[in-house]
């Protein structure tokens, strides 16, 4: 559990950390957080990961997406646990590779990237900053909490249009351009948009 000797000094920019872990997230397993390592070291790693974008939704980082589940040191070696969004998400390997590359570039030698399935990722782990970035990008962020009810329950939640803010929207398809999104349309501004659906 000792910090590795060759990592850069902790960033003084605490802003990056403010929205993670954020207090509005569901109380279910925040496993491993806060991690066992020294807080300053963890923050330094987080600052690096904050710069790693999701390859399919590049406006949000892997930290804002909530898929970085744990940061720890195993015998001096940095170990980062990452959870996939969907079982078949084709970006899983690419994300792990990008995280590895970013950490190596930041001076961490041979970081260990571990894939963790449990607890399963939920859109509740999207940070507030991440939600705002999605909206600004034209993707409606998840509405309501990702309880089983919101997966199965009828009727659909009202999804405000990310472009004009109107609530007069309708679902076009259960699936959008990726597994994590559904396709919607705004009846006011008539624009189609992606909705990052609850999971």
């Amino acid at each position: 559990m000792q910090p590795s000797g060759n990592h850069p000094s902790a960033s003084s920019d605490d802003k990056l950390i403010d929205d993670w872990p954020s207090s509005d997230l569901i109380g279910s397993d925040r496993s491993g957080l806060p991690p066992a390592g020294d807080e300053g070291d963890v923050n330094a790693v987080l600052a690096v990961l904050q710069e790693v974008p999701d390859p399919e939704v590049p406006v949000v980082s892997v930290v804002e997406l909530g898929i970085v589940r744990d940061i720890d040191w195993l015998d001096g070696r940095l170990a980062v646990s990452v959870t996939p969004t969907y079982s078949g998400c084709p970006a899983t390997e690419v994300i792990e590779q990008h995280i590895h590359e970013a950490l190596v570039a930041a001076g961490y030698s041979d970081p260990l990237i571990q894939r963790r399935l449990s607890p399963a990722w939920t859109t509740d782990w999207l940070s507030e900053a991440g939600r705002e970035k999605l909206r600004a990008y034209g993707i409606a962020p998840p509405v309501e909490s990702a309880s089983k009810r919101s997966l199965t329950g009828q009727p659909d939640p009202v999804v405000p249009c990310p472009l004009c803010g109107s609530n007069a929207t309708e679902r076009v398809s259960e699936f959008g351009s990726t597994a994590c999104k559904a396709l919607y349309r705004c009846r006011d501004c008539l624009e189609p948009f992606d909705y990052f659906k609850c999971l």
């Binding site: 969907y86 079982s87 699936f175 959008g176």
Partner: protein
């Protein structure tokens, strides 16, 4: 040498846990491949996206189940090996999921009958005594729940739609029904998994599957075939319909033709 290797795998006595994992993984893999065959052929762009995304979820689930099975098997076997180097008789998927795509009523009818079972099975497995199974099931359950919602909506829309869509959906249901007996059948593998605290109670699973099917079919104005009608079985022990071999021939062609390839 490859043939020798395959014989060894097939003849090796597999533990009930491995057999059970192959059933779970092969169901997802074969149904996922049925979706992949529809790439570029869906009736609308939105349906294309949906079918491919459901297929992708299933492939991801297959990788998780088969990856676990491979770890319990001989060295040098991984999930890819199980997917691409086994012959039809070594597959343990349900006959239902290997049935051909046909028309859209066949596709959504097959999906609905499977999803209605899959959701309740995964729900039970998410409480399995084996933590690895429990975590894969919990992850898959979120996806399967969404799949069931979508396939239920389609069955209702098609069944309670036009005369043409109703006729086709009823025909699809009547045809697919003869492959559903296997979903509720309990053999020695299921029994062993039940006793190990892994598989959920089969009576509860059957009750829940029937309740979901009855609810949706009623709303879809479709007639439910009898539960005690004659059923085809055998998929779970490797006795498949003729359709699986063709599916595997297409799916496995490339890795089998270039077994030494390391870059695709």
């Amino acid at each position: 040498m490859q043939n020798m290797n395959q014989k060894n795998i097939a003849q090796k006595t597999q533990t009930p846990l491995i057999e059970y994992l192959l059933r779970l993984g092969d169901n997802a893999l074969v149904l996922g491949q049925r979706h992949a065959q529809l790439c570029g052929k869906a009736p609308a762009l939105e349906e294309e996206l949906a079918l491919m995304n459901v297929g992708l979820d299933l492939f991801g689930q297959a990788r998780n189940w088969l990856g676990y099975a491979a770890e319990l098997m001989a060295d040098k076997i991984d999930a890819d090996h199980l997917a691409f180097r086994r012959d039809a008789q070594d597959f343990r998927n349900l006959l239902l999921v290997e049935q051909p795509n046909g028309d859209f009523a066949d596709i959504m009818g097959r999906q609905f009958l499977f999803d209605a079972w899959h959701v309740h099975l995964l729900d039970g497995l998410s409480h399995a005594s084996d933590p690895r199974i429990a975590e894969v099931a919990a992850k898959s359950l979120k996806e399967a729940t969404y799949h069931l919602r979508r396939s239920s909506e389609w069955v209702i829309r098609l069944g309670d739609g036009t005369e043409e869509s109703h006729t086709r959906t009823q025909r699809a249901l009547d045809n697919l029904w003869q492959f559903t007996g296997e979903l509720l059948q309990v053999d020695e593998i299921d029994q062993a998994m039940l006793e190990a605290g892994i598989a959920p109670d089969p009576d509860t699973l059957a009750t829940r599957w029937k309740a979901t099917v009855e609810e949706v079919l009623e709303e879809a104005t479709l007639a439910r075939p009898a539960y005690d009608s004659w059923m085809y079985t055998g998929g779970k022990v490797g006795h498949h319909t003729e359709h699986l071999g063709f599916l595997l021939a297409e799916m496995q062609y490339l890795p089998r033709a270039y077994p030494d390839a390391t870059v695709w």
